[in-house]
Symmetry: C2
Subunit: 293 residues, 2 copies
């Protein structure tokens, strides 16, 4: 590739919400980033065509031979698909080119990259924190990348790879945040994967109570709607990152159940005990989100 003179040719594998969003940002990126061409590949040609029509790229790529002729290859498919892709094609990433992904679980991705990508090529795990529960190219909002954290998880001791990945993230208008894959996975198990698990479970419990019919459905207010919103996420994508991060997710589920039992016990101790736990929950949220702003 053209090294520090520009990002060059970019191939994006997967033209869903995130792939399209990244393609839009790259096709509109300032000249100084040196993006020469953005190619889009999707196993569903109709999706690739839709993403192209939405400004997600310059042309549709057909087959991995076309994808692999690139300076930057971005994998924007569900995590298990990312790992399979790397195992199948990782050894063919060209010398000097960058392979990066956008999956929400990083341990398995980084391990696959370390195993297969040649030492002469650059490989970095990536996770942009900007998706919504909506699916497909039409859900892409390029502005969601603006200042969004984009986690980079190093694969090897490889300064140039991280420099290249950082420039890619900056060209998208996002904010690079580097951390170890294992740390990333332990946190998102609790901050993102667990909330995804809970959202659908709350919806199922409510339906399966058998109590909600046309005369009582009015009780489902804005609280329920917000608490279950993540259940609208693509089930294959979510199942993929849950399974890829299974150990941490299972631990988070166990922690949640234990804490819920504690609160259920407090119900019999009276309002003061319950309020104390709730106040601590509000304080925790403010500690965390206050610190993120």
């Amino acid at each position: 590739m053209s090294g520090l003179t520009g990002l060059g040719r970019v191939s994006i594998v997967g033209a869903g919400q995130i792939g399209t969003m990244i393609g839009q940002a790259l096709t509109g990126a300032d000249q100084r980033w040196g993006v020469l061409e953005v190619g889009l590949q999707d196993r569903d040609p109709a999706i690739a065509a839709e993403a192209l029509a939405l400004g997600g790229g310059d042309r549709v790529l057909v087959g991995m031979d076309q994808v692999l002729v690139a300076d930057v290859i971005i994998l924007a498919i569900p995590v298990t698909g990312i790992v399979e892709w790397i195992e199948t094609w990782g050894s063919r990433v060209p010398p000097g080119s960058l392979l990066i992904d956008t999956g929400s679980s990083k341990g398995a991705v980084v391990a696959a990259m370390a195993r297969t990508v040649p030492a002469g090529a650059a490989a970095v795990g990536g996770h942009p924190i900007c998706g919504s529960e909506a699916n497909g190219p039409a859900a892409a909002r390029q502005e969601a990348l603006r200042n969004a954290p984009f986690v980079l998880t190093p694969v090897r001791e490889d300064g140039p790879a991280l420099t290249l990945a950082t420039r890619l993230v900056q060209s998208l208008g996002a904010r690079p945040v580097t951390m170890a894959a294992a740390v990333h996975d332990r946190i998102v198990a609790r901050s993102s994967h667990l909330p995804h698990v809970v959202a659908g479970t709350l919806a199922r419990l409510c339906r399966d109570s058998g109590l909600v019919d046309p005369s009582t459905v009015a009780l489902l207010g804005p609280g329920f709607r917000g608490a279950t919103r993540l259940a609208e996420s693509d089930p294959e994508m979510v199942a993929s990152f849950l399974v890829a991060n299974a150990t941490q997710v299972a631990a988070a589920v166990a922690d949640l159940s234990a804490e819920l039992s504690r609160l259920a016990e407090a119900l019999s101790l009276g309002q003061g005990s319950v309020a104390e736990i709730l106040r601590d929950g509000a304080a925790a949220r403010r500690d965390l989100l206050g610190a993120s702003q």
Copy 2:
């Protein structure tokens, strides 16, 4: 009171988000509803004054003797406070007047009303489904009542009481939905009370993981923010409705833990099993919310 000729004088006990919102709607209600005056009482005079300044009423009431001189008395305080109020003052609701509340748990409220409110007065449990996690008079948005479901739970076989409560709800621009208190409480335990419990617990788990520091806090994205939003609700108010609905909430917590375990087990069965559960969660949400629109 003036019976079918108008709602007459209204007293609102509690000038928080809901009390202020109702006061705003009543002071601005069409003349045909016959609202003569809206009085606001709050144990914190500064809150009552703030609500008054926001158009939540015509004057501030001091002490329950003033509150009880009314054709309609609306209790807009936390549920345990509502029950205490009814036990203390319910016997003094004037003949022909209506006592109604706005609490999120109805069984204890309706039982207290049945015990204390004289047969000559009207008493109905109420629950407007329109609050947000924000607190205080400044959080009141009168338009949130527009077409919002306002549950009415009968206290006795008393047609005129329900007719009067229905007219009050209509004067607010809300939509009356009548159901038994026990049915209401079983549903909201799952649709509202459980999500409140979960929101703060998710925030605590994330903080207590000890993994989130300034270098990793960027991982808390829009999903975490949305999933924990209900933790911002007033802890005393939430503790109050949880304790008042303790049996149902504890059952809902147990159901949630069981379902979460089932999903954790599916993690080891592979992506297909997990995706199936997630798809069912999305279908449940759509079944429920589709039916509510």
